[in-house]
C-alpha cells in the first residue's frame, strides 16, 4: 500500500469520526469538518466546472481548436453572456445578467412545455386508461390504479369545497396518499440506514483492514 493511500485512509477515518461527533452534540470539531467539507466542495466544483465545462465547451474550441478545425467564433456570444452572469457580483452591472438568465430560464421553460407533456404527462395519463380486464387480476389492478389516481387528483383539486361526495372521494384520496407516503417513508429509512452501513464498511474493511493488513 502506497504512502498516499495509507495516509488517505487515515485522514478519511479521522474526518468520519469528526462528523460522527455531531451525534453527541454540535461541537467545534464537527464544525471544523463541516467547513473543511464546504471548502473542498467549492474548490472541487470550481475545477470540475472549469475543466469539464468552461474549458472543454467554450475555451478549447475557440482558443485551442483541433488541427484542421476552424475556430468556433460563435462561442463568443455565450462566453459574453456567461461573463454577464458573473457580473452579478458587481451591483452596478448586475442588470446585465438579466439577459443571460432570460435566455437560459426562458429557453429551459420553452423546452419544458412540449417535452414534459409528451414525455411524462400524456404517457402517464394514457397508461391509466387501461381496460378492467380481461382477467379478474387485471380488473382489480386497474381498479386500484384508477381509483387511486382519480381520488388523489380530486384531493389536490382546489375549485370545489371538500364536502359531501367530493369530501368522501378526497378522503379516499388521502388514504391512498398516506399509503404511498408510508412506502416512501419505509424506503427513506432504508436509504439512510444504507449510508450508515456504507460508512461502517469503510471503517471496518478499509481503515481497520489497513491496520491488520
Amino acid at each position: 500500500m502506497s504512502v498516499a493511500t495509507l495516509l488517505g485512509i487515515w485522514i478519511a477515518a479521522a474526518l468520519t469520526f469528526m462528523i460522527f461527533s455531531f451525534l453527541y452534540k454540535d461541537n467545534p470539531v464537527y464544525k471544523l469538518g463541516e467547513h473543511i467539507f464546504l471548502g473542498i466542495s467549492l474548490g472541487y466544483g470550481w475545477c470540475i466546472y472549469y475543466w469539464n465545462d468552461i474549458f472543454s465547451n467554450a475555451i478549447a474550441p475557440l482558443v485551442y481548436p483541433e488541427e484542421g478545425d476552424a475556430r468556433n467564433w460563435i462561442l463568443i456570444i455565450p462566453i459574453v453572456l456567461g461573463a454577464f452572469i458573473l457580473l452579478r457580483v458587481i451591483p452596478r452591472f448586475a442588470w446585465l445578467s438579466r439577459y443571460s438568465f432570460a435566455l437560459l430560464i426562458a429557453g429551459y421553460a420553452g423546452l419544458a412545455v412540449p417535452n414534459e407533456i409528451a414525455g411524462r404527462f400524456l404517457p402517464q395519463l394514457v397508461a391509466t386508461m387501461a381496460p378492467f380486464g380481461p382477467t379478474w387480476v387485471h380488473a382489480v389492478t386497474q381498479l386500484v390504479l384508477l381509483v387511486g389516481v382519480f381520488c388523489t387528483v380530486v384531493f389536490f383539486f382546489f375549485s370545489l369545497e371538500h364536502r359531501g361526495a367530493v369530501g368522501q372521494i378526497g378522503r379516499v384520496g388521502v388514504v391512498f396518499i398516506m399509503v404511498a407516503f408510508g412506502a416512501a417513508f419505509g424506503y427513506t429509512v432504508m436509504a439512510r440506514v444504507s449510508l450508515l452501513i456504507g460508512r461502517f464498511q469503510f471503517l471496518l474493511y478499509d481503515w481497520i483492514g489497513s491496520m491488520t493488513g
Binding site: N52, S56, N115, R120, A184, T188, M190, L195, I197
Partner: protein, 295 residues
Amino acid sequence: MDRLASIILNLDRRIIYFIVFLCVLIPLLHPLQLPFTPTQEVRDAFNDIEALEPGNVVMISCDFGPSTIPENYTMLQALLHQCFRKDLRVIALTLVPAGAALGSRGLREAAEFEDTQGNRLYPDLEYGRDYVYLGYKPGGTAVMLSIGQSFTDAFPRDHENRVTSDLPIFKEITALADCSYIFDVASVGYPEYWVSYASERENVPLSVNCTAVSAAQYYPYYASRQFRGLVGGMKGAAEYEDLVGMEAIIGRIPDATKGMDAQSAVHLFIVLAIIIANILYIRQGRQEQRPEVIS
C-alpha cells in the same frame, strides 16, 4: 407500568444510537447471510441488458454523489461487469458534479479489474473503442437534448481532456438514438428527466437505479413501462449483484449483499421501536401523551 412506559418513551437518545450502532456492527462482523430472491423490478432491468447483442452500446449516466455510494456505486460495478462480460460497449457520463470523479473511478475499477491471480478480467477492453467516460456537464436537460443530436458536440472533450471526435466509438455512435439502452444510476431527480428528454424522444429504453429515498416515487414510471426496470436502493443493488453473479466475478461477497443483514437488523429495530412506542402512546391516552411544556 406507567413508569416503565415513560422510561421507554424518554430513553436517552444516546442509548438508542448505541443500539443502532450494535445493529449495524454485529451483523457486519457475524453475517447470517439471510437469503433473498430478486424482485421483478430488478429482474426486468437485468433481463433487458442480458438480451442485448454483443457490440450494442449502453449509455450509463452516473448521476450520484458520495453520499449515496453504498446504494449507487455497488450497482454501477455490477452493471459494468455485466456489460463488459457480455461484450457490450459503454458510454458513461454524469450530470452531477460530484459524480465526475466517482464515475471515472467506477469505470476504471470495473474495466481494469484483476482477479486474485492478478490477471485482467477483460484484457481486450480498450478505452475509446469499447468504453468511454465523458465526464460532467452542467445543464441537466440541456445535456440530454444535446447528446440526442450529437455526443461529440455536447462533449468535445472527455473527462481527462481527450478530444472525443478522435475516439473510435464515436465514428459509429453519433447520437443517443444509436445506443441500445440508457441506464441511469442516480441519487437525484434526473431519472424523470431522462424519461422526457431522452428515452421518450429518442425511443431508447431506460432503466433506473435510484437511491431508496426516491424509489417509491418512481413506481408510476415502472407501471407505465417508461422505466423498463427499477433498481431501488442498496437492496435493489444487492439483488442485481446476485443476478449478475458478482460473488463469482470478484471472488468475495459484494458490498451491497454484505450489508443486507445489517439492513434487516436496523429495520427490525426501528419497526419494533415504532410499534412499542405507539402501543404505549395509545395506552396512555393520546391527549395526555403530548409532552408537557416545561415552564
